[in-house]
């Protein structure tokens, strides 16, 4: 393997890591509140807003049903308006974050649903306001499962970012696509694969460790 290829692989790995974690961060910024709202507005939950709940649910479902590769292309005008370009790592962050957010929202909603309902009841009986219930009860209690949701999201984003590589997003995806698929360079393609596998394993391992550390059940 020549030095230039190694440089290319290192650069690709770094770009993939940046895309995964930065879009993961923005994805959570959008998805976490949405997930909490989806949970709180459910029937018989503390906010109980059926109309808002259904509206939110429909929006989330619409975005979840768009295949990611199409979402990238569909969002090009929006991406350009936000970051000024439609190619490269920073351009990829926009569809990646938007693509991850509804997925995260559902994972968060599910994490909260799996908490024993008695906890909310006890907090209400002790005089907690809805806001206090969210940040003093729901989030800390769901933390281990939210960390698991984060690992799942980040791993999904590794895959999405590679897909973005095929349409000029950079990262390992682009390296694999250009050198592996178009140039048919088996060594480079397999190196890309190996790096992606290692990245996914590290995320899963770290996520499991972290989740366990906060789990006192």
């Amino acid at each position: 393997m020549s030095d230039s290829i190694i440089d290319l692989l290192l650069k690709g790995t770094w770009e993939t890591i940046v895309m995964t974690f930065v879009s993961g961060f923005f994805g959570f910024l959008l998805g976490l509140p949405t997930g909490i709202l989806l949970f709180l507005t459910r029937k018989n939950q503390i906010l109980d807003q059926p109309v808002l709940n259904r509206t939110l649910s429909v929006i989330v479902n619409v975005f979840r049903s768009i295949p990611f590769i199409i979402l990238i292309v569909w969002m090009i005008p929006f991406t350009r308006a936000i970051v000024g370009t439609s190619i490269g790592v920073s351009a990829a962050l926009v569809p990646l974050s938007i693509g991850a957010a509804p997925f995260i929202a559902r994972l968060v909603e599910n994490s909260l649903l799996s908490l024993p309902s008695g906890l909310i009841e006890a907090a209400r009986a002790l005089g907690a306001t809805p806001f206090q219930i969210v940040y003093k009860v729901l989030l800390p209690e769901a933390l281990p499962s939210l960390i698991n949701a984060a690992s799942i999201t980040l791993i999904t984003l590794v895959g999405y970012s590679a897909m973005g590589g095929a349409v000029g997003a950079g990262g390992l995806g682009q390296v694999g696509y250009q050198y592996g698929y178009i140039g048919y360079d088996a060594v480079t393609m397999n190196s890309v694969l190996a790096l992606l596998v290692i990245l996914v394993f590290i995320i899963q391992f770290a996520g499991d460790k972290l989740s366990k550390r906060f789990d006192h059940r």
Partner: protein
């Protein structure tokens, strides 16, 4: 202290309307322990949840410490709830917090300063006897210890009222007793009014001053524990009382028990003392008058209020010709007597 006036609660289930509570009224005087007993599905859970409006009644009035809760805004209600403690069957502790932080939780909600929280929490943990577990997580505690933490937590804001939702139903008998003693102690020492719901007559018998029986969302009978045990009117009430007075014939006796007397066996009697029974030392009277002896095989006697009641298995011996007269004498004193067989 707690007053429910004509409280009705209906639920909409699919197309039909289910009535969980209909026209329930009760008053719990300050400093008393009031028990509501009923079978599962009778509406007792809904009833206790209506008191702090975890469940909003369809109609009626809820007055706690002179405040009509139904008229309060959500924010006012949250503050008022701090005066109303509540403990649950499944404890509902926060698993992500240590014992200390669980007890500190309601104080944090109320915005108590950190230094104050520390002294208050340690004081409360001492009260429930768990000061050594302050830094443990709830997962490492036994059921009884969890309930103690929950009690400490709910006492943190000095509530005037404590609601207990089947607090001992998930605990074994020995732990149940220790939790009940703790509740009684809290009631006496801190003058906290307690409203509890349960399906166990033992709970009512051991700590309640007053009791109400709930069935199909209606209170069918209520009064002081002594009154109810002395003179239960309703069939269901009688069943509850009977269930707390269950007695089995010991196996050794079971094996040698004969249906018929062959002229040399002793009768095995079951005596039931209820509130109607005469409050006199009847057994020694019978022994003296009829020249008979008693061997107590097994007994479960109790006191609820002024009433002494219970059930007893005794083996009768002595002057054989007086047996019938002795049994009649018991019955005349309203002690229900039954010959179970001969041994």
């Amino acid at each position: 202290m707690i007053e429910l006036k004509n409280v009705t609660k209906t639920f909409h289930q699919k197309d039909k309307i289910v009535s969980a509570l209909s026209d329930v009224s009760l008053r719990v005087p300050e400093g008393k322990i009031f028990g509501v007993i009923g079978t599962s599905g009778a509406g007792k859970s809904t009833l206790i949840r209506c008191v702090n409006l975890l469940e909003r009644p369809t109609s009626g009035e809820i007055i706690v410490d002179g405040k009509a809760l139904m008229q309060l805004s959500n924010a006012e209600l949250a503050i008022e709830r701090r005066q109303i403690g509540m403990i649950f069957q499944h404890f509902n502790l926060l698993s992500s917090r240590t014992v200390f932080d669980n007890v500190a939780f309601p104080l944090e909600l109320a915005g108590t300063p950190k230094s104050e929280i520390k002294t208050r929490v340690l004081e409360l943990l001492q009260l429930v006897g768990l000061d050594e577990k302050a830094n443990d997580y709830p997962a490492s505690l036994s059921g009884g210890q969890k309930q103690r933490v929950a009690i400490a937590r709910t006492l943190a804001n000095n509530p005037k009222v404590l609601l207990s939702d089947e607090a001992t139903s998930a605990l074994d008998p020995a732990t149940t007793r220790s939790i009940l003693n703790l509740l009684k102690d809290i009631n006496k020492r801190l003058n906290i009014t307690v409203l509890l719901i349960t399906h166990q007559m033992e709970v009512v018998k051991s700590i309640c001053d007053e009791v109400a029986v709930i069935s199909h969302g209606k209170l069918i009978e209520q009064g002081s524990v002594g009154e109810i045990f002395a003179d239960p009117k309703h069939e269901l009430t009688k069943e509850f009382i009977a269930s707390s007075l269950h007695i089995d014939i010991p196996e050794v006796y079971q094996d040698k028990l004969q249906k018929q007397d062959n002229g040399s066996l002793n009768p095995l009697l079951k005596l039931e003392m209820t509130g109607k029974s005469v409050n006199e030392p009847v057994i020694s009277e019978v022994s003296r008058i009829f020249d008979t002896d008693f061997k107590i095989v097994s007994a479960q006697m109790d006191q609820a209020g002024e009433v002494n009641f219970g059930v007893m298995l005794i083996e009768l011996s002595g002057k054989r010709e007086n047996y019938d007269a002795a049994i009649q004498y018991f019955n005349s004193k309203h002690i229900k007597t039954e010959i179970l067989g001969y041994v």
